[in-house]
Symmetry: C2
DNA sequence: CACTAAAACGGAGGTGCCTCCGTTTATTTA
DNA sequence: TAAATAAACGGAGGCACCTCCGTTTTAGTG
């Protein structure tokens, strides 16, 4: 059953670097998806994120599959339970938030970047609220998820704040965790229809406070 | 539209005391159920408790209704969501546990009462584990439920211990919350098949420790 | 006791969940 | 490029959830 090595001087695919990459993957393999599978999976997450935001966690999975243009079976192969899907959507949201921090920092003055990011943070919280019950369960059950995400988010904010302070765009005597704490108010605010506007104003106010007495 | 007061000297029903009772009820009215309704409700809780214990929280509600000899509609009228039913079953379990404490104290020597009660406590924990995910959610959502129940249970144990200590059946230098803490080990123990026996032995061991050095 | 209003019953039916498996598609090999 | 094979697709079917409303039962009244 062992393949005889005939003219194998050039291994068609899988050169050394790729071997290494594969070996690394094997440690905690998320598996290399086939091209179409990856496409469908991405599409599902995309649509699910939208659906959860609009209709809450109880959005119909069959509807999500339909809107993503795949069969319900495909959805279930990728995400055996609703929680799996929720978790992935949530992680994606966190990912996006952290990525946005880097991008904003690159494209804007430090204080503007911070403000824009905090505005985006409001959206993030909105998602988190939408997923509330499921997330609470997930976050107590799956402690990795909790430490991963909360660490990454607060880390992203910390660097934005430090950068803005270093650039003299905001006062230097503020602690990142204090700001995070202030933003916490958004989370616990009541669920009124004008919640979004209200939170937006809170962020602006907070920024004014941060800019007050800045060096430059 | 105002009824003229003709010969209303004796208001057939609703004498003064009942008025008062009704007024009191109105404060946080659980409403006076019609006889048949009460019967059905009791039956449902009874059956549900059994079903949850056997099949976990995901027991089929339709099956529960059937076994209770009522229609599914009746179940849903009494308990709009699965969580409502879970909560009631759980409260009933707590109730039973506390009631057992009084009863055992009446019918047995103080130390025996304590031991028997702790054995029953094992059953209670078993239920709690069965309902785990739902309960966790309920207990974080509905904080009243948490404080109510945990307070009552630890209170029941406290009085059993104090009685036993006062009667000289167990040593007097133990703190009730320490014993409660020791029992906590039951809860966090792994979910092996011999869990019940194991926990039973733990209780016995604990009792030996408590009896050691008792006055009488 | 007969009557009636109010309350409770119960199950048909519409919807979503999830599994299973025959069909289709991507990738590899010759 | 064609054939082979591994992987992914997708939807039919079966089950549970839950709502809605016509029917039945209870409790009060004359």
């Amino acid at each position: 059953m062992v393949q005889p090595p005939i003219l194998r001087s050039v291994e068609k695919k899988v050169p050394d670097q790729e071997m290494t990459a594969e070996a690394k993957r094997d440690a905690h393999a998320p598996k290399p998806l086939r091209a179409d599978a990856q496409r469908n999976r991405d599409r599902l997450v995309e649509v699910a994120a939208q659906a959860f935001a609009t209709d809450g966690v109880d959005a119909s999975l069959e509807e999500i599959a339909k809107r993503a243009g795949v069969g319900i079976g495909t959805l279930y192969r990728h995400f055996p339970t609703r929680e799996h899907l929720v978790e992935v959507v949530y992680r994606r949201e966190v990912e996006g938030l952290c990525h946005a921090a880097e991008e904003l920092a690159r494209e804007h003055p430090a204080d503007v970047a911070l403000e824009l990011w905090m505005q985006r943070f409001v959206d993030y919280i909105a998602t988190k609220r939408g997923l509330a019950t499921s997330l609470r369960l997930l976050l107590t059950t799956n402690s990795t998820l909790f430490s991963d995400t909360s660490g990454r988010v607060s880390g992203a904010m910390r660097s934005l704040i430090e950068a803005a302070a270093a650039a003299g765009k905001i006062r230097a005597d503020v602690d990142a965790s204090d700001v995070m704490h202030a933003l916490g108010g958004i989370y616990s605010a009541p669920n009124t229809p004008d919640w979004r506007e209200r939170s937006g104003r809170l962020v602006k106010l907070l920024m004014d406070g941060l800019r007050f007495g800045a060096r430059g």
